[in-house]
């Protein structure tokens, strides 16, 4: 019995020692944190899960290779490791606030706001504390002042202006094209129903007809609204919709014989939340003609360096469990932006003296032409008074069930906060 007890004690000691050896992190003494709040609960749960996966893979990539992207020569300091910190804010601003305080106390120097409600609630605090934060929030008209929440895609009014520009360039008839809003009946959808966009449409030669609202997620086909468009002889319908709204709308359009390839010719254009990549995958050829502006390239276009990078990362870190959602790219872009800000800041300020404000001023504000491998409409450029990283809007269309890039149009910066 005594021998058995001794053997047991010895085994325990060995196990404890072995365990302690495994848990020792001898390779890196210094750690910098990236991440922030993620809205993993609620309407954007699926999108955010993909964003989180992007962050996780990028952090692993930088820690392993010390590279920042395959197309870049700069290296991340070899003695410093990155660590991802995140919390689920459930889309609630109060929760985002306590998460911010928690992660700040843990020593984060950069932050991330998941969406507009969180960014708007936090922006003043972030700026007071000197935090720079990439965000999926809306554009500079709401986020400035101050100037420390950074975006990487255009706002809805600019996206739809780009769709209008593209449509007008291809308009063949002599009469003015008729345009109307067909948009979601919520704050997001209504955000485009503003005089600035309407005036722009009129200025570039459209005849503005009116507005129709559709529930964010329609519970019945929006037949009445579409018939109204038909009756008013609308050529271009513009609106903000998420895919659960745009898909049933376009299905009903096709049923009613409306669309670019249907007896009644009409084009339906939306900004980024109605991503063409998600739309085309679900709708196939039924969705032909659907236009989306301000989105990211589809995940199957491996000829684009950024997409190939995403694909390689996924094959390396979770083969067989590919994240196909387009917002994976957003996670990579945000993690890349945060890492770049930290790297640039360390060029000016030693690691030991890094503060959030030092990273904001010597990092985020010094990001000029950050190449994202074609994932964003243009390379990202930030600075004081410039928190919108891009200055062009990518426009895509579903053709033969596939996403085809139509081109890029300039950001018009139409909407100014009163």
């Amino acid at each position: 019995m005594a021998r058995n007890k001794l053997a047991l004690i010895a085994c325990l000691v060995i196990a404890v020692v072995a365990l302690s050896l495994f848990t020792v992190r001898s390779s890196y003494a210094k750690t910098l944190y990236v991440g922030g709040t993620m809205a993993l609960t609620g309407a954007y749960a699926e999108d955010t899960a993909a964003v989180l996966a992007g962050y996780q893979d990028y952090v692993k990539y930088v820690n392993e290779t010390k590279n920042l992207a395959p197309w870049r020569n700069e290296k991340f300091p070899s003695d410093i490791s990155l660590e991802l910190l995140w919390r689920d804010d459930e889309l609630k601003p109060p929760k985002a606030l306590s998460i911010y305080e928690e992660l700040k106390a843990k020593g984060m120097l950069v932050f991330r706001c998941s969406g507009s409600p969180q960014a708007l609630a936090l922006k003043d605090r972030l700026f007071e504390d000197g935090f720079g934060a990439p965000s999926m929030a809306t554009g500079p008209y709401l986020l400035t002042p101050p100037q420390s929440v950074f975006t990487y895609y255009p706002i809805y009014t600019d996206s739809l202006a780009a769709v209008a520009d593209w449509f007008m360039e291809n308009w063949k008839e002599k009469r003015k094209p008729r345009v109307a809003y067909l948009t979601a009946d919520n704050a997001m959808g209504r955000s485009i129903v503003v005089p600035e966009l309407t005036n722009y449409l009129k200025k570039v030669g459209y005849e503005f007809v009116g507005t129709q609202f559709v529930p964010l997620v329609p519970t019945s086909p929006p037949t009445t609204q579409l018939m109204w468009l038909k009756k008013k002889k609308v050529d271009l319908a513009l609106g903000v919709m998420i895919n659960p709204g745009s898909q049933p709308t376009v299905k009903e359009m096709v049923r009613l014989g409306m669309g670019p390839n249907q007896p009644y010719k009409i084009v339906f254009g939306v900004p980024a939340p109605g991503h063409t990549a998600v739309f085309a995958a679900a709708m196939g050829k039924l969705g032909d003609g659907y236009v989306c502006a301000g989105s990211f390239p589809p995940m199957d276009q491996l000829s684009i360096p950024g997409i190939k990078f995403c694909n390689d990362l996924q094959n390396k870190y979770h083969p067989g469990k590919q994240v196909t959602h387009i917002m994976y790219e957003a996670g990579i872009i945000e993690a890349m932006t945060q890492t770049e800000a930290l790297r640039l800041a360390m060029q000016k300020v030693p690691f030991e003296k890094l503060t959030p404000r030092a990273v904001l001023e010597n990092g985020f504000y010094r990001i000029k032409g950050l190449e994202t491998g074609g994932m964003t409409s243009t390379p990202l450029t930030y600075g004081k008074g410039d928190i919108e990283g891009i200055d062009k809007v990518r426009v895509d269309q579903v053709q033969n069930g596939k996403v085809v890039k139509l081109g890029s149009w300039p950001c018009r910066h139409l909407y100014k906060r009163k």
Binding site: R87, E90, P94, S98, E101, K104, P117, N186
Partner: protein, 351 residues
Amino acid sequence: MGRQRGTFLENYAQDMAIIRTRLQWAMLFIFLLLLFSCPLFLSDRALTVMTMIGIAVISVHGLNILTGYCGQISIGHAGFMAVGGYTSAILSAKLGWPFWATLPCGALGAGVAGLIFGLPSLKIKGFYLIMATIAAHFIIVWLILQLYGLTGGGDGLAVSRPEIAGFTVKSKGSYFCLVMAFACLATYTAQNIVRTRAGRAFVAIRDNDLAAEVMGINLWSYKLQAFFIGCVYAGVAGVLLVHYYAFASVDLFPFMDSVWYLGMLIVGGMGSTLGALFGAIALKLLDELVTVVGPGLSAIVAPQAAASMGLIAHGLVIIIFLIFEPRGLAHRWELVGAYFRLWPFSHEERE
């Protein structure tokens, strides 16, 4: 508060007192001293969480008067908070009124909204009243979004930080003290309101409105009074929330918050001032726990494992309380208190 054995009341003043012994006064004094000195030793995060708890406590006290005492179930409480918050925000941002003027106006605005949406309670009750209050929430939010020129619509409205005698309540510590002062005041007034004639009428209406009416209680008046008082509390909470963020947005008042406020009452104990306090603290802390545990769980299982964990945890806790302790934490607290009051000899042993 309970008395120790052998402590007898000798006059009406003693009988009416909320705090009855010197020990209780001393404990209250120490509690308040500790509470208001929290900014000296607590982290920013702890202060933020406690500020949120304080705001929730004020709101839940209002709901407790309306639902817990008067039996008028409302799931539109976040909507009434929005009315208070926006009233204050508009007066502050558009007219430049100081915080001390906008606060009562916000409270009054929410109270008036409560009166308007409380009118159906005279004709309907139970499930139908729940539906009416849900409708109230959505009507309020819809109005806020439509009145763009006034409310900023979906863009929201920037609001200045409160100013008291030239001092801007800007730091987390100072705002914490402001919220806690209102939370203490709300708790004190709530405890007193339910002991008044109106409070007793509320309880009578809750227990049996027909019997209450037969006894001469004016249902029309008292139900509306309950709506008004409950919504005034919600208004104060809304004002404090909006000024804390220095920003008014409909996203600060999601519909689910109304449901969770009711959940706080269930967990804490409906019809008890202490219950409202316990419920708000318990569910807010659970919220924090879930947030902290989420990433760990996702690392072990999958990122999606953290998703909706907050909703699930809240729901589960409410179900557990409904089944095993429908009288809430306040009842448990009373049992524990009774045990220690009788310790070391229980009542049965004395008998």
